[in-house]
């Protein structure tokens, strides 16, 4: 008698989340990085909140993107190193479906903290409070897209020397469309406009990447184990 697919997915999600919380640096590192990079901007440019507000959308998005990239380091590498990835391929459950809870767990431990911290950083860059919801929604979708697309890069570069640099090289071009619309959404919100268009497009990209990337990820995982 085999475990049902939904049970297997729930088990995978819970398991990964428990493991992530036991190694809290998986959660802390991207957040600290996000904060530090955001701090670089006033230091490099100007302490004037008026000026910072104009570029805040782009800055927050770029910093979040880079922090999320850092978080991608934790995807699949430990599983590959300790051999549990092999067992996942042999679990008898369809691999593409198991990839979904793994991506979700990664986002929960890596992307969601960024979303939660973003309002504080936004305020430090002079972003008005009315824009904060748009910021969080756009980042939630954006980090979600990055977890889904980044999983492809993570799976392709498993076990390679200098894999982390290569991972960034592969994932960044794919993340550019999300950056364009995400930063634009925040910018519009800062100037008092409703950012409906960009957010909807971001949502569409999120759905697309969530549905299509598991196929690529499972193919890449099998290839990496050969």
């Amino acid at each position: 008698m085999q475990t049902s697919l939904t049970q297997a997915m729930a088990l995978t999600y819970r398991g990964d989340l428990v493991l992530a919380f036991r190694r809290w640096e998986q959660i802390a590192q991207p957040v600290v990085f996000f904060t530090m990079v955001t701090t670089l901007v006033p230091l490099a440019l100007s302490p004037e909140l008026g000026e910072l507000r104009e570029i805040a959308g782009g800055v927050l998005w770029i910093a979040a993107l880079l922090a999320a990239l850092l978080g991608l380091e934790f995807m699949y590498r430990a599983d590959h190193a300790d051999g549990t990835l092999e067992q996942m391929l042999l679990s008898g459950q369809p691999l593409a479906w198991l990839v979904l809870p793994k991506t979700a767990a990664h986002w929960t431990a890596s992307g969601l903290p960024l979303v939660l911290v973003s309002p504080l950083l936004a305020i430090s860059l002079g972003v008005p409070t009315d824009a904060l919801w748009t910021l969080m929604i756009s980042l939630a979708l954006g980090t979600g897209i990055l977890s889904a697309l980044g999983a492809i890069g993570a799976a392709l570069t498993l076990g390679l020397r200098r894999g982390s640099v290569l991972l960034s090289l592969l994932v960044l071009p794919l993340a550019m469309p999300a950056l364009i619309f995400g930063a634009r959404a925040v910018d519009m919100a800062i100037h008092g406009e409703v950012a409906r268009g960009p957010l909807l497009l971001l949502g569409a990209m999120f759905v697309l990447s969530l549905t299509l990337s598991p196929v690529a990820v499972s193919a890449a995982l099998r290839i990496s184990q050969e």
Binding site: I152, L156, T157, L160, R161, R162, G163, L166, L169, L170, L172, P173, L174, M176, P177, I180, F181, R184, M205, L208, L212, A216, A219, A220, I223, S224, E226
Partner: protein, 245 residues
């Protein structure tokens, strides 16, 4: 339908000989067409009433840009064929084509930059098409870097194949996003690299260049492919006999 010709093509010794015979049929017409196209474009075609003689760079810029996209599509198709039917030669096509495509993208960017200087006084503009071209170059570089990082050839082939397919699916999304981003900030100004309206004596050299570039790509691809085949089949006996001839 009889597919033996397809499978025969996938056999390295057969392909190696065929490619050797076909290369001059691509190479010489390419040389001719490019020579004729360049003469037609640089000398014969009348100067554009808006841009003067500077527009002539389009005769290298446009075919390069077109080829960079065509080559990527070729890479992705070859990769898909290699993945689905497990044909190693298809992966070799992708591997051989990637650097050529990257150079076309680079040429498109450089000529685009050169075009910009006399027209608008800057060496670079964040025009939608140029930006898309730049991102395409990044995709090429990622593909080449991934291939170089994986020692096992089979794994490298398959991993790059997945990457190429993911890239080709993302290309329209990237293109559309960059377009949108560009119109957003430019407002109603016309795209900077609008081709001047083309009467026939301006157009035919462009078509000649395009065809010439395509044939040039064919010739170079076949040559590089033969090199790939030699590298992959290093230890095979058929190769020793072939090279002894």
């Amino acid at each position: 339908m009889n597919w033996t010709w397809f499978h025969k093509l996938a056999s390295p010794p057969h392909f190696y000989r065929l490619a050797g015979r076909m290369t001059p049929w691509f190479g010489w017409p390419a040389f001719l067409l490019i020579a004729v196209g360049l003469y037609g474009g640089l000398v014969l075609a009348p100067p554009d009433y808006q841009q003067g003689d500077a527009f002539r760079i389009v005769y290298v810029h446009a075919p390069s840009a077109w080829m960079s996209m065509f080559v990527y599509a070729t890479m992705a198709t070859a990769s898909a064929i290699g993945l689905v039917w497990r044909i190693k030669l298809a992966h070799a096509v992708a591997a051989a084509a990637a650097p050529i495509g990257a150079w076309f993208a680079f040429a498109a960017l450089t000529t685009g930059s050169l075009w910009g200087k006399p027209m608008w006084g800057t060496w670079w503009v964040w025009d939608a098409r140029l930006t898309s071209e730049l991102i395409l170059l990044f995709l090429y570089l990622g593909f080449i870097a991934l291939r170089a990082s994986i020692d096992d050839r089979g794994r490298a082939d398959r991993a790059c194949a997945v990457l190429a397919i993911v890239g080709v699916i993302n290309l329209p999304i990237i293109h559309y996003s960059v377009n949108w981003w560009n119109t957003l900030h430019q407002g109603s100004t016309v795209t900077k690299f609008d081709k001047p309206s083309m009467p026939f004596d301006m157009l035919w050299p462009l078509l000649a260049m395009l065809l010439g570039f395509t044939l040039y790509f064919g010739a170079v691809l076949l040559t590089r492919l033969r090199g790939e085949v030699i590298r992959r089949e290093r230890d095979a006996s058929w190769l020793r006999e072939e090279l002894a001839r």
